[in-house]
């Protein structure tokens, strides 16, 4: 590099570092420094340019003194490449972690949701779906089934009460609603996705039991007579007790239990949840109040 080039480079660097100062002032400063350098060489031609520049100091530090004298904050000294790369690496890692965390939160939100449009439980944003009697391939007997190419089968049974006092229903996955019968017969109407499955029914003493736990995605409507007791046991899904005029006992592992109390009917509630939450229900002290016992492991008991 020629001495003139070296001088120009020095002045150029000084000019850059003074960029906070107006250009006319900057030009004045550069000219004065250049004048000083030329004077120094004139006075002592044996002196090297490098020596003169070294005596002045690095252009950045000279610039920072000008800035400090004017009450401006000097530009930060450029970081060494090592530090710069460490900073970039660190920020990059933090950034990637943040993006990943945001993706996970977005993908798996909400962590657990119960109910919703499908009356299902959704864990980790749908990574695990439980229940959903009105799910994708089991939408009842409406037009959806033909559109989706799936089939729904229906089995119903109706009988007079006779000596029966207790009706038991056991299911694995689906939806069960229990409501008072509108005639003098009790029974059930179950829709499901499995072809030609009989609903296993048994009668023992005063109890009639229906076990549909081997059938996928069941959707049962149980009609119950006054004075009977209904017991429903399920794994995943939704059980609704609609304006019952009888006592009911419900056992559910995952899902939602909906209770719609009938008007002017007294109930005594015994509601137990392991993980989840429930609406508040008012128990009555009245004699002859119907017992509503619910045991739920994960989910929600709601008042409808």
């Amino acid at each position: 590099m020629s001495t003139d080039q070296k001088l120009e480079n020095y002045l150029e660097q000084l000019n850059k570092s003074l960029d906070q100062i107006p250009i006319s002032d900057r030009a004045d400063i550069i000219t004065e420094i250049k004048s000083h350098i030329l004077e120094a060489r004139e006075r002592d031609p044996s002196q090297s340019l490098s020596g003169i520049l070294a005596s002045l100091g690095e252009p950045e530090s000279v610039a920072s003194k000008y800035l400090l004298e004017r009450g401006l904050s000097p530009n930060k000294p450029s970081k060494t490449p090592m530090v710069k790369w460490l900073v970039i690496g660190f920020l990059g890692t933090v950034g990637m972690l943040l993006v990943t965390a945001m993706f996970v939160v977005w993908k798996f939100t909400p962590l657990i949701s119960i109910g919703g449009e499908n009356d299902s439980i959704s864990i980790l944003g749908g990574a695990i779906n439980i229940g959903g009697a009105t799910g994708a391939d089991f939408t009842g007997s409406d037009t959806d089934e033909s559109v989706q190419g799936s089939h729904t089968y229906s089995k119903s049974h109706e009988r007079t009460r006779g000596k029966i006092d207790i009706f038991k229903l056991k299911f694995n996955n689906g939806k069960v609603s229990v409501k008072p019968s509108t005639n003098d017969k009790f029974g059930w109407d179950c829709k499901h996705a499995d072809q030609a499955k009989l609903l296993p029914m048994s009668e023992e003493g005063k109890t009639v039991s229906v076990d549909v736990s081997g059938i996928r995605k069941i959707d049962c409507e149980v009609k119950i007579l006054q004075g009977m007791v209904v017991e429903v046991e399920g794994n995943n899904g939704k059980i609704s007790l609609e304006e019952l005029r009888t006592s009911a006992s419900v056992n559910l592992v995952n899902g939602k239990v909906e209770i719609s109390p009938a008007k002017e009917v007294d109930y005594v509630y015994d509601l137990r949840i392991k993980n989840g939450w429930q609406d508040s229900f008012a128990s009555s002290n009245a004699k002859g109040a119907h017992k509503i016992n619910v045991a739920l492991v994960n989910g929600k008991i709601s008042k409808e």
Binding site: I29, L38, V62, K65, R70
Partner: protein, 111 residues
């Protein structure tokens, strides 16, 4: 401890240096940077050029000094001459009073 004394020197020289620059320019009516550096050095006040020029620049901005570029009547390259303004002269008087007071206190403290 040595670092401490260097820091102390920097602090105490700050105002004192400004006063000496003004006095030196006043004495010679007008001076350009390189000349001023030489004259201060001859008076045993060694200032780095990287310190002096920014100070001169600030004093010119504050109108304590008046700066003029001379391209004629000078050999070779243009030079920037500084002279003390009227306001600068008033400031010098105030500074001298303060400095004399400081010296007085300093001497009394040692008696």
């Amino acid at each position: 401890m040595l670092d401490g004394i260097e820091n102390w020197k920097t602090q105490i020289r700050k105002g004192y240096l400004e006063l000496c620059i003004l006095l030196m320019i006043q004495k010679h009516k007008r001076l350009y940077g390189f000349e001023l550096l030489e004259k201060l050095a001859n008076s045993d006040l060694h200032v780095k050029e990287g310190t002096l020029y920014p100070m001169l620049n600030r004093m010119a901005v504050e109108k304590t000094l008046h700066a003029v570029w001379e391209t004629e009547n000078v050999k070779g390259h243009p030079r920037k001459f500084y002279s003390v303004t009227k306001d600068g002269a008033k400031l010098v008087e105030e500074m001298k009073k303060e400095f004399e007071n400081m010296v007085h206190v300093f001497k009394n403290a040692q008696k």
